[in-house]
């Protein structure tokens, strides 16, 4: 067979197909997230997801072998969004500014992601992948706390710093936010104030002030 018999490669079409498939995948994930938010903590069915995304159930399972894989992909997608929507700000500000900024950013994340978080926690079951995402998500909260309160934490011995971070993470947990809003009936601003006061009491004095 001569070289002239070989059809020329058509990368543009392949790329277009891949792009469409990727776009479908994304729409399915977004449909899953929307339903998980609306019906938390219930996991949406494949039929519901397909209907919301505007595809067939078969399309869903062509891209995700099972609902658990879709769930994991959706959590990863959401975690990227959470990080993008909550950048660290005012990390060089004074103590009051840093506490205010960290609390408001965290409050907004909790407000936005509470139903999805509940769905994730309630449906983690025996899935090591989902459990790993929960751990990772908490580690990110701790990393942010370490970053925002670096001056105060730097004055503490290692064990004490670790213990304060454990407590700060618990205090600013999504469910802790939910309790302030749903159980104690605080407004967004009141809930932020309660966290600000508590964090200020927990942190050691700011060095050099």
């Amino acid at each position: 067979m001569s070289g002239t018999d070989t059809p020329p490669p058509r990368p543009a079409r392949v790329d277009g197909r891949r792009l469409r498939s990727e776009r479908t995948k994304q729409l399915i994930i977004e449909a899953y997230l929307a339903l998980a938010q609306e019906n938390s903590p219930q996991v949406p069915t494949a039929a519901e997801i397909a209907h919301r995304a505007g595809y067939s159930v078969r399309s869903v399972f062509e891209r995700f072998p099972d609902i658990r894989t879709l769930q994991v992909a959706a959590v990863d997608y959401a975690m990227v969004q959470i990080a993008a929507l909550a950048p660290a700000r005012d990390s060089h500000g004074d103590r009051a500014t840093r506490i205010k900024t960290q609390v408001e950013t965290r409050g907004q994340s909790c407000e936005r992601w509470l139903p999805l978080w509940r769905s994730l926690v309630a449906n983690q079951g025996d899935s090591p992948e989902l459990r790993q995402r929960i751990v990772l998500s908490r580690e990110r909260v701790v990393a942010r706390l370490e970053f925002m309160y670096a001056p105060e934490l730097s004055t503490l011995p290692e064990t004490e710093r670790r213990h304060i971070l454990i407590v700060l993470e618990s205090l600013t947990d999504v469910e802790s936010w939910a309790r302030m809003r749903e159980f104690f009936g605080l407004s967004f601003e009141e809930a932020c104030l309660a966290w600000r006061q508590a964090i200020d009491r927990l942190l050691p004095p700011t060095p050099g002030v």
Binding site: V135, I166, S176, L193, Q197
Partner: protein
């Protein structure tokens, strides 16, 4: 022919004991596996027939609610407030240890209750009641310190303290961070101490 009262009392007592055995079997199963067991599983664990369960409880929901109430009563009995009039350090230690024992013992049951609250309004009411009891206990134990605060400050501090000593907060220290019982208690004692305002001098 009417039964003699001693025979009636004996029957009631046996029936009450059966009820209690069923609820304790339920709790045991929750501790082993974090999901609501079936009536057949509960019956097998309690050593009774499934029919015996439904002779004493209307349905599985009724049994679930009665079990939560029973668990709460047991938890309360095991967590009597002590050293209410002690100095600050004694009250802190006493409150934290009592709370820690409750969390240690009841965390698996609590998790199932919380996970299923969406299915049953009555379960949500129980959770609210238990949280109120936790807050009331702190109001009792830290009365001298809380009295110096304004109503709003007191409310906010109690909310933060309630988060701090939540079942899941305890679970994370023990399971997630691998702290021993004593280490975890020490963390709570030190952090509550930081959050509370200074203790006012005792009144003459």
């Amino acid at each position: 022919m009417a039964l003699p009262s001693s025979s009636l009392d004996g029957r009631r007592l046996r029936s009450e004991r059966t009820r209690q055995t069923i609820m304790e079997a339920y709790i045991e199963l929750l501790r082993e596996r974090p999901e609501i067991p079936t009536a057949a599983q509960i019956a097998a664990r309690a050593g009774f027939s499934t029919r015996s369960i439904f002779e004493r409880f209307v349905d599985l929901q009724g049994l679930s609610l009665a079990t939560v109430d029973h668990a709460f009563a047991m938890g309360e009995a095991q967590a009597v407030a002590r050293n209410v009039d002690g100095d600050r350090a004694t009250r802190l230690q006493s409150h934290v240890e009592t709370r820690a024992h409750t969390c240690e013992r009841w965390l698996p049951v609590w998790r199932v209750v919380v996970a299923n609250q969406g299915k049953l309004e009555d379960l949500r009411a129980r959770i609210r009641f238990i949280r109120q009891a936790i807050v009331k206990r702190m109001e009792l134990m830290y009365r001298p310190e809380l009295e110096v605060l304004s109503a709003e400050e007191r409310r906010d501090l109690l909310i933060a303290l309630e988060s701090l000593i939540d079942f899941e907060s305890w679970g994370r220290m023990r399971e997630g961070h691998g702290l021993s019982f004593e280490e975890a208690c020490s963390v709570w004692v030190r952090m509550i101490d930081r959050m509370l305002p200074p203790t006012p001098p005792a009144r003459p």
